[in-house]
């Protein structure tokens, strides 16, 4: 076991340490905080590259694990009472490590420029480092428990960063919404963990000797056991774990938090809500894929859990893409696009296995981070404007941003050959085509692909082409009301005049780097040279162009290319051909079909639906509980307390007037007697003499009386 495997824990530990140190920095120590975070991230990247290089080396076992006892429950020595944690280095971990730390590093650098004017710069970098550490922890975890711990840490930092501008009510509400919505999934996830522990007796994925919960012996046991309705236990656990992934990855029906999360700073949106954290859900499914895919007959696909993954993913892909068509906030469009692409990844996992989904995850991380950072650059250049109707013509003002954004857009749309999105998306569609359960996910995915090309064209056309509509913004309060989410970011409200400008180099260089990777990354997973897929499986890849011609690969590619160009063409037809002149001009689609457009603009009224059902029920239930507390439980408690008070009054009465009275009276009399007697002994000689005199007189009288009597 080599050094890097034994010390894999350093990769998350270094950013965590940086977060700890950054938390101690004062607000004015900006350079210190930023360089600390970036340095730690750079170190993590170096270590990740070491790990990646190690994973690349062909060895007998592509998976190496280090486990340690965390704590002991019950008697020592008894089986199943030691809770173990550990980390694993396998190809899946290695590619995720490099992706997370590399994208993270670029976004950290970008943040230096983007957050330059923010007063809480040091806090921002502290949170970012904490997030990076937690995310890397998720990636290396070899125990579902450690996975869950880091998963929750990631959720926490997501909350902190969405609500980074907490003085803005929308941001605070969005942070709360994100936290609570993902919590719904996490509760079910935790149930799944508990169930798995009770069934398998361990939460380690791989324990090095075939006893982990994802290894054959445990899976065989899980598959044969059935639960209610004849479902295999492994499927039940898989579905519960999928619920956690749905919450974190913003899949339908728990997608509502992700668009709102765009209230956070744009680098956060790029890092957490596009590239890494939301991908953690997909990564989770990829990690527990053996569990999901476990089937008594040994079939690779077609289990209930994987079918659920596929359906959730494919529905989300189309659903979110259609919403993105009608949005006007530059970041929200990207957010719905992220939801849609995460759906693709889920679908890829469901229909094609780990490699298909993970390939899209990796390529998507790069081009979506690129798009978000580009959007941040646009927002920055347009003086915190987020409404794409008030942009336009930025191509001339921001050439670097435009070029990199266009590359990201083409990659996301899946323009053939040169861009990575094409290869990864095509892989998914190809797998969906070959799915033996249903063809519906394939068609849903195809529609989604076309919609993706369409809305990205719409966005680019509105933002970068046409004429600049930014000057008429003060005269358009009505459209401000129409889009309440398009509020400017108040944390750096500054002079809002002047034409749009290009962003500083610290922001554009990460864009360029990401753009390069968005193009090149596709070539590691083409059908001709499926290196990525082979690497994840632990095999070696070979270059073979003949694969293009087998199993209908080429027709499918032509089909998807057609779809993409259809989307691009439609988008250009509607938005690029004759660009809108004024920001309050209606959308061409709204003119065409106002009813559907309004439905999409309002996100299928899902938020309103939740507000009126789940949230309303919750509020009602809280009120009911409050009423119960206030009047029933509180009444009972008060009744008891009054009874006790009454009892103590009786008790006091007994004490004072029964027990104490006689004693007190006796004491008082004794004291009076003592006082009287002590007054006799006052030391005055004449008093004594008087007593003697009186006694003498009395004696005389007695004697006289006695004489008389006798």
């Amino acid at each position: 076991m080599t050094w890097i495997v034994r010390n894999l824990w350093l990769i998350p530990a270094v950013p965590m340490l940086a977060a700890g140190l950054g938390a101690l920095a004062k607000q004015r120590h900006r350079a210190f905080a930023a360089s600390l975070a970036i340095g730690a991230m750079g170190l993590s990247l170096l270590l990740s590259l070491c790990a990646f290089a190690h994973a690349l080396k062909p060895g007998p076992d592509p998976r190496q694990v280090v486990n340690f006892d965390w704590f002991q429950m019950g008697d020592p020595g008894a089986a199943g009472t030691v809770v173990k944690l550990g980390w694993v280095l396998d190809p899946l971990t290695a590619v995720m490590l490099v992706m997370v730390s590399f994208v993270g590093l670029l976004i950290f650098i970008y943040s230096v420029g983007y957050m330059a004017r923010d007063g809480n710069f040091t806090r921002f970098f502290c949170f970012l480092s904490l997030f990076a550490g937690a995310m890397l922890g998720v990636v290396i975890a070899n125990s579902l428990l450690l996975f869950f711990i880091c998963w929750e840490l990631v959720g926490l930092t997501s909350y902190l960063l969405i609500g980074f501008w907490y003085q803005k009510p929308a941001a605070a509400a969005a942070a709360k919404k994100a936290f609570i919505t993902t919590r719904i999934g996490d509760v079910l996830f935790l149930l799944g963990i508990v169930w798995l522990y009770s069934q398998a007796g361990t939460l380690l994925f791989y324990d090095g000797s075939g006893g982990g919960c994802l290894e054959q012996s445990a899976l065989d046991a899980l598959v044969v056991r059935t639960t209610g309705a004849g479902m295999a236990v492994s499927t039940g656990i898989g579905l519960l774990i999928l619920c956690g992934a749905i919450g974190k990855s913003g899949q339908v029906p728990l997608h509502v938090w992700l668009p709102d999360a765009m209230e956070g700073p744009t680098p956060v949106s790029a890092l957490i809500h596009a590239a890494t954290m939301v991908a953690a859900g997909v990564f989770l499914v990829a990690r527990v894929y053996p569990l999901m895919a476990a089937h008594p007959a040994g079939a690779a696909a077609g289990t209930g859990a994987l079918e659920a993954v596929t359906w959730v993913g494919s529905i989300t892909a189309v659903f979110a893409a259609s919403i993105a068509v009608a949005q006007t906030d530059i970041k929200r469009i990207l957010a719905y696009s992220t939801v849609s692409q995460l759906g693709y990844m889920m679908m890829g996992l469901g229909v094609g296995g780990v490699a298909v989904g993970m390939f899209h995850l990796i390529t998507h991380a790069f081009f979506k981070a690129l798009l978000f950072l580009g959007a941040g650059s646009v927002i920055h250049g347009c003086h915190e404007e987020q409404d794409i109707r008030r942009m336009g013509g930025l191509r001339k003002f921001m050439p670097v941003t435009f070029a990199s954004y266009a590359i990201g857009m083409l990659a996301l749309s899946g323009v053939p050959l040169l861009f990575s999105g094409f290869w990864s998306k095509d892989e998914i569609l190809h797998a969906a085509r070959g799915w033996n359960v249903s063809q519906a996910p394939f068609y849903l995915g195809a529609i989604g692909a076309m919609l993706t090309a369409f809305y990205m064209t719409r966005q680019v056309a509105l933002v970068f082409f046409g004429s600049n509509r930014g000057d008429g913004r003060e005269s358009a309060p009505s459209s401000q009301e129409a889009m309440p989410q398009a509020t400017p970011e108040p944390a750096h409200l500054h002079a809002k005049q002047g034409s749009p400008h290009e962003s500083p180099a610290v922001m554009t260089i990460p864009l360029i780097v990401l753009a390069v990777f968005s193009m090149l990354l596709g070539f590691i997973g083409t059908p001709a040279w499926p290196w990525f897929q082979a690497f994840l499986k632990g095999e070696s890849a070979s270059l073979n162009f003949a694969r293009f011609s087998e199993e209908g690969v080429l027709p499918l590619m032509l089909f998807s290319t057609l779809l993409v160009f259809l989307g691009l063409g439609l988008g250009w037809w509607f938005y690029g051909r004759k660009p809108i002149r004024r920001s309050d001009e209606p959308d061409p689609l709204a003119v065409l079909r106002p009813d559907i457009f309004a439905l999409l603009r309002n996100r299928y009224f899902i938020d309103e639906l939740y507000d009126n059902t789940v949230v309303a029920f919750n509020a009602w239930w809280s009120r009911a509980c409050d009423w119960l507390d206030r009047w029933v439980w509180n009444g009972a408690v008060e009744l008891v307390s009054y009874a006790v008070i009454g009892l103590s009054w009786v008790n006091r009465f007994c004490d004072e007037y029964v027990v104490n009275l006689g004693f007190d009276e006796g004491c008082r009399r004794l004291r009076l007697g003592g006082k009287f007697l002590s007054s006799l002994q006052n030391g005055r000689v004449q008093n004594y003499l008087r007593v003697i005199g009186i006694a003498l007189a009395a004696l005389v009288l007695f004697l006289i009386w006695g004489c008389r009597a006798s």
Binding site: N682, G683, R684, V685, Q686, L689, R690, G693
Partner: protein, 103 residues
């Protein structure tokens, strides 16, 4: 008629004067004087009962009185000495202020 009741009345009168003085005066020396008066009234009773009693020929009453006078002289000396000593200590002869034995 025996003059005894006359002596006894005189003696009672002197005793009463002595008792009154001892009780009412605040000056210690005058209290002592009152006590001397009472003592002498008692002596007078002794003499009177002896002279007009059953055996006037025996000198018992005379002896008793002389003895008593001797004792009274000693007692007066001791009393005066005490008063002087108290006066030195407390700078007073008022008996009301002499309440504490502990000096």
């Amino acid at each position: 008629m025996s003059p005894l009741p006359g002596y006894l009345l005189l003696s009672a009168f002197v005793f009463a004067i002595g008792l009154g003085g001892a009780l009412m005066r605040r000056n210690a020396i005058l209290v002592l004087v009152g006590i001397e008066l009472m003592l002498n009234a008692a002596n007078l009773n002794f003499i009177a009962f002896w002279r007009f009693g059953a055996h006037p020929e025996a000198l018992t009453g005379m002896l008793f009185v002389i003895f008593s006078i001797g004792v009274a002289a000693a007692e007066a000396a001791v009393g005066l000495a005490l008063i002087i000593s108290i006066h030195r200590h407390y700078k007073t002869t008022n008996v009301d202020e002499m309440k504490v034995l502990k000096g």
